[in-house]
Symmetry: C2
Subunit: 162 residues, 2 copies
Amino acid sequence: MLRHDYPDQVCSIAKALEVVGERWTLLIVRDVMNGNRRFGELQRGLGVARNVLSARLQRLVEEDILERRAYQSSPERYEYFLTEKGLDLWPALVALLAWGDRHSPEPDGPPMLIVHKECGGAVSDRGVCELCGETLHARDARALPGPGVKPHKPSMAATANN
Amino acid sequence: MLRHDYPDQVCSIAKALEVVGERWTLLIVRDVMNGNRRFGELQRGLGVARNVLSARLQRLVEEDILERRAYQSSPERYEYFLTEKGLDLWPALVALLAWGDRHSPEPDGPPMLIVHKECGGAVSDRGVCELCGETLHARDARALPGPGVKPHKPSMAATANN
DNA sequence: CGAGTCGGTTGCTTGACGCAACCTTGTGTG
DNA sequence: CACACAAGGTTGCGTCAAGCAACCGACTCG
């Protein structure tokens, strides 16, 4: 994505896409939601160029979608966590995931499942638990590897905690 | 966005973004949903470069998200309509719209409102009517200019029919 | 004391995007 | 009949973001 702004667009969809519409950004948010918090983890998991990942993380921190916290000093090492604003992207991610599952299905089934932590029910494209009917948020759900998953990427199974 | 694919990513979010994650694509879908069906309308409304719009429309037709229909011949002129697959992006657009509204609010209120056609109720970030509680789809809702709207872009008020 | 880890940065190359000009088929205007 | 204009693109070119590999500083481990 070149210039990441959409001038002359007053719509909130456009404003949202100015931030999260850049290449890799939404996938970074997804990975952090799934528990990949460190630069190296994200880089290996996504296969994104390191300089691009660096730029995205910086932008996401600036936009208050991620928070950078040191988890050790000397040398300083950092982890990235989702803020409330970042966690709030969950419904959009769930909607995109459901769309992808519906319209370009894997032969063996979806590679990633979202389930309600509390009752284990599947989560609908609207982020609603299909078992108990509750409207869920990021912290209420968990990602699991689905039947269509290929090997090597266990990170998908992690929990969305902050 | 450079190469629009995300190799090594088996997740359905990544697959969805391979198609609709390109710059302009989701805004084109939004505009078509709002009744802008022609090349010139889309180009003027979005301010996108004509060659890029051309490429996006072609890709969207290939991906079965849009359908290209002639509305006259000699000279042949075309309109673009959403397929079921395209209409099915509605929940994702609504989620992004709601996120944008919540986290980068306009001083005068949201520039675009989504309402349930049948009862006029506001639509939540999950695409659910807040008045009657129904879970909605693209055809059940309509976009209206909101209080924060600036002049010149009446197209937002059009109806989502196919 | 050399290799590896972590979290980046730097420099170079590639290719998507923005812009303006042009094209084709047709209508309307003097 | 010439000319302007509309619609729906296509073409060519310059620029800037993305991809890639190499490097760096601080520290640990064998």
